[in-house]
Amino acid sequence: MSNKYETVIGLEVHVQLATKTKVFCGCSTAFGARPNTQVCPVCLGLPGVLPVLNRKAFKYVIKVALALGCDIQKTVKFDRKNYYYPDLPKNYQISQHDMPLAYDGKVTIVAEDGNTTDIRVTRAHLEEDAGKLLHDPGLPFSYVDLNRTGTPLLEIVSEPDIRTPEEAHRYLVTLKQIIKYLEVSDCNMEEGSLRCDANISLREKGAPGFGSKVEIKNLNSFKAVRDALAFEEERQAGLLDDGEKIVQETRLWDEKKNVTVSMRVKEEAQDYRYFPEPDLVPFEVRADLVEEMRASMPEMPRERALRFSRQYKLGEKDVEVLISEKDIADFFEQVAGCFDKPRVVCNWIKGEIMRHMNERGTDIRGLNLKPGDLAKLIKMVDDEFISGISGKDVLEACIETGKDPAAIVRKKGLEQVSDEGALEGIVEKVIAENERSVTDYKSGKTAALSFLVGQVMKATKGKANPKLAGEMLRRKLG
């Protein structure tokens, strides 16, 4: 994009809160059930029923509010947002209009170069999710599954403080990281527990006010958000360069074609006729509840990053990898607690552990690896009791079988031979059988030594301690 323009982006994120039951009734929120098996008169909107607020959902929002540095409403009310659509059987959504539970917060994002930027959060409020619609291709019907109806949803709206698609991506990664640290949502985009809509407009650099904004929907991954915004930035700049006006509209991201497409619907001004929800009495956010929530907060990613670099003397990049997920950071600390070489532990986690996570498509919990076992294994390699290559095999077996690494080493007979007595005969034999290399080495070709070490390794099926074998050879040929 030409640098004539400045991009202005705001994001609206919906997060499903990880409660067992819905926000206003006791139906399950589990994903993937058969259609309409997790519904009751309340979430079906049958006449005469009353919603009752799930205490946990309320507490979760307060936790997020604290983590984002938001102000919290003292008295909370809910409002009805009225609209007619079959995913919402009551014909209104219980939401929050003019008094969101939390407001005026921020998300601090860290750029590649380590610089930080604050993206302001306008508001975060609690509402109920709607149901799911399936459309019958070719037939004039839609099918409605109301299992999702009433799932607690936290809507987090940013100020238009984001200036590049890359920043938008970082904002989302950071927000997700914060929410996952709080353990209030699994933030699984595939299952729809985190959803994002983006607003984007362009203005000439230095110009006051905003250009006409375009809302982008159908963003199913963080990558889609970045790509769609990058496309839209170019599209709008092109139109402006040609002297055309940007139409304020909603566009859909087409992931296959990598373009945004106008929804081409008549954008009738929405009139939701909000009014206070009369079926719910007001809620007071008492100071003791806020304190309880504050006390239950884990150490958040930024604080943890600072502590990690101080306490473990690790570089910035390493720290960012370790704190990227709470579970990984916890795991690292547990291993480092058993084996006091944090840098070595970090390298194992960054390398082998993450490779296994990727290969198995699982998170660190899914590996079922006990931190104590990994510590034992790393110690065996570090003590040169087993070789680095054997260490990798043992880890693999450890993850596969859940057995103790020391037992695996014994069973596979992988103990490195670091006993001179045991190597003596083999070293002698290698010297006797490789006259040429011995002569080469003695005449100053030091490279010949690694060949001889290799021969010792071969003769011991890789079990000899290569450092010791080298030393012994040098001494004997010295």
Binding site: V52, S142, V144
Partner: protein, 105 residues
């Protein structure tokens, strides 16, 4: 809605607009009738403006003494899919079946 002094008057366009939002089809006779009825209701409600509310904090609920009614995050009883769908005019494979709606792709 026209605001003539303190009196609010519902116009026929207001009636048509509200009807559209509520997905109701009205004929002209209905519009005239509802214009009268809705205006009368508003006029009646207008009487509340005569109360002096100076210094009274706003409330969103009539039960001012009742607050913080929560339920715990414990599973309750859901309906069977047969019960859930029993009022549906049309259903298929456990889904409610409705005329096709296209909002988003």
């Amino acid at each position: 809605m026209e605001n003539t002094g303190r009196k609010k008057v519902i116009t026929e366009d207001d009636v048509r607009y509200v009807a559209r939002l509520s997905r109701l089809r009205l004929d002209e006779k209905d519009v005239t009738m509802f214009r009268g009825q809705l205006s009368a209701i508003l006029e009646y409600i207008e009487q509340l403006n005569e109360v002096d509310t100076e210094g009274v904090p706003p409330t969103s609920h009539v039960l001012s003494s009742m607050k913080n009614v929560f339920r715990e995050d414990e599973p309750g009883v859901s309906l069977s899919p047969e019960e859930a769908l029993s009022n549906a005019p049309e259903k298929k494979d456990g889904f409610f079946k409705v005329p096709r709606i296209i909002k988003e792709a």
